[in-house]
């Protein structure tokens, strides 16, 4: 299992992690596909997560989710974590998890690693918090 602060964009379905859903955005329809962007977080970082099809209905803010074989990658310029076709989401609890809202891994500019062009490294922080879901203080 990986902590959210350690996830790196990659075209691979290999992220196993646990997080709590902080907030859900509006569900949108694109053709046959239902999508919903959410802010999720663990004790180390937050990230934008894309819920897909019936996942949009089943998960609520406050739910603690276990993600297996997730993928963290760009979709139309936005960096998001999602289960993808091969991944799996499972609600394992609710409420009882601490979280931080900064850093937000989706609000970081990543550049290819000069030493290993297949890998990304952090270039700079675009915003300490999500620019889509404002922190509630």
């Amino acid at each position: 299992m990986v902590a959210l602060k350690d996830i790196v964009p990659a075209a691979q379905n290999n992220i196993d992690t646990k997080f709590i859903v902080l907030e859900k955005g509006r569900t949108t329809l694109e053709g046959q596909n239902k999508m919903c962007l959410a802010l999720v977080a663990d004790e180390t970082a937050a990230v934008h997560f894309q819920l897909w099809q019936d996942e949009c209905d089943y998960f609520e803010s406050g739910d603690i989710i276990y993600l297996t074989n997730g993928i963290f990658s760009y979709q139309r310029g936005n960096l998001i974590l999602r289960a993808g076709k091969r991944g799996k989401l499972e609600k394992i609890g609710e409420f009882t998890m601490s979280y931080v809202e900064t850093p937000n891994m989706s609000e970081i500019r990543w550049i290819p690693d000069p030493n290993n062009s297949k890998m990304y490294i952090q270039e700079h922080v675009i915003s300490p918090h999500s620019r889509i879901f404002a922190p509630i203080l």
């Binding site: 409420f95 009882t96 601490s98």
Partner: protein, 529 residues
């Protein structure tokens, strides 16, 4: 397809307890039919069989009697393992169980009590905790009825073997009844009658059990004085304590002076709520609590009727959740802040707010250093003191309520209350919970009459007697606080009594009034933003 115990939605992980029962059931299903094996199982097999049989009982009502026979033939541990499994199911899964499984659960509970299984008392108490305060759904009312029927049915056995179960049940049903009496709905009538019958039976026939509960028994009873049966109980408590035929019981002050064990406070909080509250008070940092507060309120307080549970939550926080020093000194959300937030959450019903404040101050009224715990009174003082800088309305409201209680809660026993409250203040200072009471007595934002009253209370406490205590007339007090810029209307629901002693005979006039002041303050974002 093996039937399920719970209604697990898609995308939700199966609970470990359910999984283990189901796996045992699946692997042993063929051996759950007669003829049963005569070989003596080893400990692992024994546990395995217990799990399988329990799953079968819960999911196959048509064969339940056969499965129970199997269980009786098999048991070698006084049903301890089996009952322990039931405890786990009730504690962790009850709200999610299907209707049919709940039905079977209550059926097997009856059986477990009948055979006096080891741990049946805990099982009954765990089930009582699943009754949700302020929840008028059919499922919740069904559970009340089932448990009451069972308790009345097994009365003699419980009285002899497990009287503490009856004490717990009295606490639970007095509290639940107060909720049920506030709603006039046809479907509640028979349940209400059953609850009244059960509570009155304990109070009238087994009054010694009420004494075991201690002062919270009075707090709960007082919410029911408008019910005729309880009105007469109340009169006897105040005027004819001998009517209860209980050796050593001399009067209500004896109950006032008995601190209620913290386990009673747990009885009106569901395990799920307890888990979330304890998490809030041990892990969530002050300044980052908003989302957790929102989630908690969405789950437990969203319906207006459920607001009454705030009274129980405050009692739980004061009496049953005492954080260690490491937490107190850390940046975790303190208890007073949660209570402040809860108080501001119950704007909709004045009696809820008054009862919440009473719950917050209840141990102050009868505080005795020798029997009471300073942690029970700590949240109220910290809430008052910490609210001074930004939310002085909160301080005003709370202090006003406390002083009102001193004057009116029980006029006949005012000396006890004066002593309790003043010694509570003194101990909080001497133990360093607050440095000094100047923060209240010299606070420019607090109303002068209030400060004056507080100073008078504190000075009479110092004299160590209530002789020098000059009670302010409540009428005068209300008039003098009129300058506090908010409407005050007092609807008191407490008992005051004027008694006159003539030649050793007490002739008393009992006046029933309801002392529940309702305030209307603007207090939208208490101290937590």
């Amino acid at each position: 397809m093996v039937p399920k115990l719970t209604l697990t939605p898609p995308h939700e992980a199966e609970n470990q307890i359910e999984l283990s029962l189901r796996q045992s059931f699946e692997s042993l299903q063929p051996s759950l039919k007669p003829p049963f094996s005569l070989t003596i199982p080893n400990p692992d097999e024994y546990a395995h069989l217990n799990r399988a049989i329990l799953h079968a009982i819960l999911t196959e009502p048509q064969f339940a009697k056969i499965h129970v026979k199997h269980l009786h033939a098999l048991v070698t541990d006084g049903y301890a393992f089996f009952t322990n499994l039931l405890l786990k199911i009730v504690h962790h899964l009850y709200p999610k169980l299907t209707g049919s499984v709940k039905n079977q659960l209550l059926w097997i509970t009856d059986e477990v009590v009948r055979v006096s299984a080891i741990g049946y008392d805990a099982l009954l108490v765990f089930l009582m905790r699943q009754i949700v305060g302020g929840d008028f759904s059919d499922g919740n009312l069904w559970l009340c009825t089932k448990l009451l029927t069972l308790l009345l049915d097994k009365w003699d056995c419980l009285l002899e073997e497990a009287p503490h179960v009856l004490c717990s049940a009295l606490y639970v049903f007095l509290r639940v009844l107060a909720d049920h009496c506030r709603l006039n709905v046809e479907k509640l009538e028979s349940l209400k009658r059953l609850e009244v019958h059960f509570c009155v039976k304990i109070v009238r026939e087994e009054f010694h059990l009420c004494l075991k509960i201690g002062r919270d028994f009075i707090r709960l009873l007082q919410d029911l004085v408008h019910v005729p049966e309880f009105k007469s109980i109340w009169k006897d408590l105040m005027l004819n304590p001998s009517r209860f035929n209980t050796l050593g019981f001399e009067g209500v002050s004896q109950i006032y002076c008995t601190r209620t064990s913290s386990r009673y406070a747990l009885l009106r909080i569901t395990p799920e709520m307890e888990t979330q509250l304890r998490f809030l008070l041990t892990h969530v940092k002050l300044g980052h609590q908003k989302r957790h507060f929102m989630w908690f309120a969405r789950k437990f307080l969203s319906e207006i009727d459920k607001e009454t549970v705030i009274v129980d939550i405050v009692r739980f926080i004061c009496c049953a959740h005492h954080p260690p020093n490491e937490i107190i000194q850390s940046d975790v959300v303190p208890r007073w802040a949660v209570i402040g937030w809860l108080l501001t959450s119950c704007r909709r019903k004045n009696y809820v707010e008054a009862n919440v404040k009473l719950a917050l101050f209840y141990d102050w009224l009868f505080f005795d250093e020798r029997v009471d715990n300073i942690m029970n009174i700590e949240p109220a003082i910290l809430l008052m003191v910490h609210s001074v800088p930004k939310y002085v309305d909160m301080t005003n409201t709370l202090l006003e309520f406390l002083l009102l209680l001193v004057d009116n809660y029980d006029m006949e026993r005012k000396d006890i209350i004066v002593k309790g409250v003043s010694s509570a203040f003194r101990l909080l200072v001497s133990k360093g919970v607050i440095h000094s009471l100047d923060v209240l007595t010299s606070c420019p934002a607090l109303s002068p009459p209030l400060k004056e009253r507080l100073s008078r209370l504190l000075s009479c406490g110092k004299l160590g007697s209530s002789k020098g205590f000059m009670p302010a007339l409540s009428g005068e007090y209300i008039a003098s606080s009129a300058h506090i810029s908010r409407p005050l209307s007092y609807k008191f629901n407490c008992i005051t009594r004027s008694a006159r002693e003539t030649n050793g005979v007490i002739s008393a006039k009992v006046m029933y009034q309801t002392i529940l002041p309702s305030y209307n303050t603007n207090f939208p974002n208490h101290g937590l933003s």
